[in-house]
Amino acid sequence: MDVALLSRIQFAWTVSFHIIFPTMTIGLAVLIALWEGLWLKTRDPRYLQLAKFWIKPFAITFGSGVVTGIVLSYEFGTNFSEFSHLVGPVLGPLMTYEVLTAFFLEAGFLGIMLFGWQRVGEKLHFFATVVVAIGTVISAFWILAANSWMQTPAGYEFVNGQYIPADWFKVIFNPSFPYRLAHMLLATFLTASFLVAGISAWYLLKGRDQEFAKRGLSTALWVVLFLAPLQAWVGDEHGLNVKEHQPIKLAAMEGIWPATESHAGLRLFAWPDEEAETNHFEVEVPYLASLILTHSFDGELQGLKSVPPEDRPPVKPVFFSFRVMVGLGLLMVVMAFWANWRRRGGKLWEDRFTLRVLTWMTPAGLVATLAGWYVVEIGRQPWLVNGLVRTEQVVSDLPVERVALSLGLFVVTYLLLSWAFLHFYRKLIRKGPPDMAKLEKQLIGMEAPGYALNWVRELKREGF
């Protein structure tokens, strides 16, 4: 085991963990803001119930995202110090903007969103919720700008041994950034929607909190109906962008070995063999890859053998992750149409099969996002900044036992963290929303501005 490998495992481990949390919170923040806004507009308490319920899982997810994110912001320096020296002048300012325009905003208004129900009016509270949601989206903007720059660097100069910015607009809006941002934001909305859908479906299956679950499931299904197909289209566009700027990554995703391949088939399954530079057990649809990626049957695609082995990414993880992501994505599109179809006339609420599938699909968005992230990040190897900086060049000069120790610490800590997270998440879901029947009776005849307050007081009496 060398320092480079241990550092990479550590970074992969900590970043994989971290990404789970913002993926859930970005979409959930938007949904919560939507429900709170709908409540203000319609005064239908069901929406307030939804917002207030989902704020709890949101809060523990957000907290876990914050603490695991701090780790990352220091890991660049501790484990990849040469990297931060080489590209710090480009990436440092991007991350500074992330902190200035997003992290502080989220943190500043989160307190009001979580604890401010009795301290501020309902409009101001809604404002805080919206600001938190906007903050999460802004944070995605900057971190994806930084990540995209590492994939498709632009607008830089190399001066005195450092990559320095030459044109900021080009640095931020680098060639892959728009696709990546759209793809990731859609992924977070889909993740949150399938989370809400799955848990609502579970309530329906259990026969509890029916009205609450129907309303939540309904919102989630509307979202996926529009966004799942949109995501398929954006993903396709993103793929074309990868073909243009990172053809070797695309070759690994598709499992294409020859230096060039026209009439390329779409490999549904294969076992890539990096030693023999070929695939085993191929199942392919003829011409389809060429058709999708070049919009012509005999379009030419660049293959892995067009570059020497040391310039190729690990093929297996990229190839399989890509299939997991696309497979889940297609399943989401199918479910979006099917579940919405079944909802007409309320058949869905009794359709135990569909509800069960939705429950299984609770983590679908998360798994797909993680898989997609692996395609992106492993597919960029052996480069840290595509074509410019190799990963092994920039590892810190550290004693191996020190990195082994830190890796061990992070493994244990994150396992404990995930145990606690799952334990309390389950607890919150099992507890469920508060009983509406009793509360609704009290809401009747109350003046609008006051009743949020009374409602909260009642919740507290309920021991909530």
């Binding site: 912001s73 440092g92 200035l100 500043g108 604890f115 501020v120 120790l405």
Partner: protein, 317 residues
């Protein structure tokens, strides 16, 4: 421009130390407040702000990376172990905020995570400060760095105790007041010891102070005066002790920076050598000038919304 970012970095660190200082301090004080009810109140008094306070730590990190990449690349590997330990401890104490109030059987473990976690964070930060000042991070665990580590812990604890005086009432407040006194004595002793030791053992610091004694003498003098006001204030005022403690931190920080300036990694890098190219510094400038005042504004507003004492039935979410 390098100077501006140096000041900004200093400001970020100071903001972090003062803000996260008081919520870390409450954790450090946990052993002195064994009762569940007291601990509930202590954590409630900061549960809406700890996240924002910790953001200053991230801000310090990215400013260092963006404006002084060479220093970031040099320092972080040197300080590897205390940084990793600090990050792990930050994770435990951070999630304790989320889970402690939802836990029943595991509550004492979350108490431990918050209390011990906060102490470890403070200790590591002190250790890093000490070894940095003493040797540019070359000797991590030396008598001097351990002394600064305890000094930082005592300082944070004092911040926490005086913050608690502001946010609590009755018995809890009396306890916080009582705890503040020995802490103040400890902090003052530690400040004197650290200053003298630093002065005696680091030639560059010594030279700097001796050459500029003409205008530097007010720093220790004002520090002493603040400590006296604090001591008096502990008897009757609610808010004075907290703000005096903050002032103590500002003075201590000033004293340290004066001795080090213009070095970023003592003995290795000064701020001009470590600075990023002017393009990077320029790009960040509008962001800093617009957003830092804005952040200070809404942070202050947030504190105003939650002003007053923490009560038994503080609203949850």
């Amino acid at each position: 421009m390098e100077l501006f970012y140096f000041l900004l970095l200093g400001f970020a660190i100071l903001m972090y130390v003062v803000l996260d200082g008081f919520d870390l301090g409450l954790g450090i004080l946990f052993p002195v407040f064994p009762e569940q009810h007291d601990r509930d109140m202590m954590m409630r008094s900061v549960s809406h702000v700890w996240d924002g306070n910790e953001t200053w730590l991230v801000f310090g990190g990215v400013i260092l990376m963006g404006a002084f990449p060479a220093a970031y690349a040099t320092l972080l590997p040197i300080l590897y172990l205390p940084i990793v330990l600090m990050l792990v401890a930050l994770i435990f104490r951070g999630i304790a905020f989320e889970y402690r109030f939802k836990a029943k059987s595991s509550r004492r473990w979350w108490d431990l995570a918050f209390g011990l976690g906060s102490s470890v964070v403070a200790f590591c930060q002190g250790l890093m400060l000490g070894s940095l000042v003493e040797s540019g991070g070359q000797t991590l665990l030396s008598p001097f760095s351990v002394l600064t580590a305890f000094a930082v812990m005592a300082g944070y604890a004092l911040l926490g105790a005086t913050y608690l005086v502001v946010k609590s009432s009755g018995q809890l407040q009396a306890k916080a007041r009582a705890a503040s006194k020995p802490l103040l004595v400890a902090v003052m002793l530690a400040m004197v010891a650290v200053s003298l030791w630093n002065f005696a053992s680091v030639p560059s610091v010594q030279a700097k102070w001796l050459a500029n004694l003409g205008w530097l003498w007010p720093i220790p003098l004002i520090t002493g005066a603040i400590a006296l006001v604090l001591w008096q204030g502990l008897k009757r005022s609610e808010v004075l002790p907290f703000f005096c403690t903050i002032a103590l931190f500002v003075m201590g920080f000033l004293g340290l920076v004066v001795g080090l300036f213009p070095q970023l990694v003592p003995g290795q890098l000064n701020l001009f050598e470590a600075a990023a190219p002017v393009q990077s510094l320029k790009f960040m400038l509008p962001g800093v000038l617009i957003f830092v005042p804005l952040i200070l504004g809404y942070t202050l507003w947030g504190y105003r919304i939650f002003r007053g004492k923490v009560h038994d039935f503080e609203e949850g979410y």
